[in-house]
């Protein structure tokens, strides 16, 4: 059976080769149970480094201009990239 592993990387700019500033893992194989605060070191230094290690990019956040009046608000992390690996279990 094939199962999906998901890696989410948040980058310092909208470029895929920018530095990783936050990350999450979700494991469809059930072999690991990633959780909030389970590590201080990012799995890769950049988004491209994840590609080089075999992760496949399947979604990237859009560039959306700020709503008028909200130009100086900060909120969610802006540059979000979803990767997957398909793994035989």
């Amino acid at each position: 059976m094939i199962r999906q592993e998901v890696l989410v990387l948040y980058l310092a700019t909208s470029a895929l080769d920018a530095e990783v500033i936050a990350w999450s893992r979700y494991d469809g194989t059930g072999r690991t149970k990633p959780a909030a605060g389970d590590g201080d070191e990012p799995p890769y230094e950049t988004g491209v480094a994840a590609l080089l290690d075999g992760w496949r990019l399947f979604q990237a956040s859009q560039l959306i201009p700020p709503h008028p009046g909200d130009e100086y608000r900060t909120s969610f992390l802006k540059h979000e990239f979803f990767f997957e690996k398909l793994t035989e279990v």
């Binding site: 310092a12 920018a18 893992r25 909030a36 389970d38 201080d40 100086y72 900060t74």
Partner: protein, 279 residues
């Protein structure tokens, strides 16, 4: 902490540099500030339960003289920090004993408490008291320095598991930290054999939060240095906006609407109105 009396001595108030650090980090930490004798009593007190206080109770109503929590709040360093951050006579929004059982297997999603909060010139603080030594595998509170001014709603940040520069609390017994209401945080998974306790109180201010601390060092260079702190998780662009929002909070806290850290606000608000005659 009562409505009577002169309040904490100046030497127990936070300094301007410490307040600036709070504005930048969204937290103030005091290691081992609670005496060992109180820490030893704390867990039995928390196991017995701290009586419920109504939302918005005064300190006198919530914690009668002689009670454990009142004793905690009357420790000079804690009373000084509370006064500096929210002023005299704060109200008790709520309190809670948080217990992360040994090998509990679950972590809270990263979140901010309550609901999205748009105040720019006022804030609540949450006191978090750790009566035990907290080791890394006990799942001490996860928090993200500098996240408190981002407008998010509760667990909408739950997708983020780890953030570069995050704090995974490891501390000696008797440590207290004060967190800005907006900070992203969560109880981590307890992978140890020791049940972990934390007692939390959220305080609401009842006075304008302006110059409530020891302001002797208000003009010291350390103040601006603290306000310029850049955290490793900030995006290149949004990180600049954080400086602007910090400036606004510092302007509110000091009553100086012209305060602007490194010209960020001045530059983008410059709209000259002087019209020259046509030549």
């Amino acid at each position: 902490m009562t409505s009577q009396g002169p309040g904490p001595e100046r030497r127990h108030l936070l300094t301007s540099a410490q307040m600036a650090r709070f504005v930048a980090h969204g937290s103030h930490r005091m290691d081992a500030v609670v005496p060992a004798a109180m820490n030893e009593r704390a867990i039995s007190v928390f196991d017995a339960g701290v009586p419920h206080a109504r939302d918005g109770a005064t300190v006198d109503e919530a914690y009668p003289p002689g009670s454990f929590v009142r004793e905690l709040l009357e420790l000079p360093e804690i009373a000084g920090a509370v006064h500096s951050l929210v002023g005299p006579d704060p109200l008790i929004d709520h309190h809670a004993v948080h217990i992360r059982h040994a090998r509990n297997g679950e972590a809270q999603p990263l979140h901010a408490d309550a609901i999205i909060d748009t105040r720019e010139d006022a804030f609540d603080v949450q006191l978090m008291y750790y009566p035990q030594d907290v080791t890394l595998d006990m799942g001490g509170t996860l928090s993200v320095p500098g996240s408190h001014l981002r407008r998010i709603n509760e667990t909408d940040t739950g997708r983020y598991q780890n953030v570069r520069g995050q704090t995974r609390l490891v501390c000696p017994a008797g440590t207290v930290q004060f967190l800005h209401h907006g900070i992203w945080h969560g109880g981590r998974r307890n992978d140890s054999d020791i049940t972990r306790y934390m007692f939390k109180i959220r305080f609401n201010p009842t006075v304008k939060q302006r110059l409530l601390w020891n302001t002797e060092d208000l003009a010291a260079p350390e103040v601006l240095a603290e306000l310029r702190t850049r955290f490793p998780w900030y995006e290149n662009a949004s990180g600049r906006i954080e400086y602007l929002n910090r400036s606004r909070l510092w302007a509110a806290l000091t009553g100086d609407p012209a305060f602007d850290l490194d010209y960020w606000s001045t530059r983008v608000s410059n709209r000259p109105q002087r019209v020259l005659p046509v030549r």
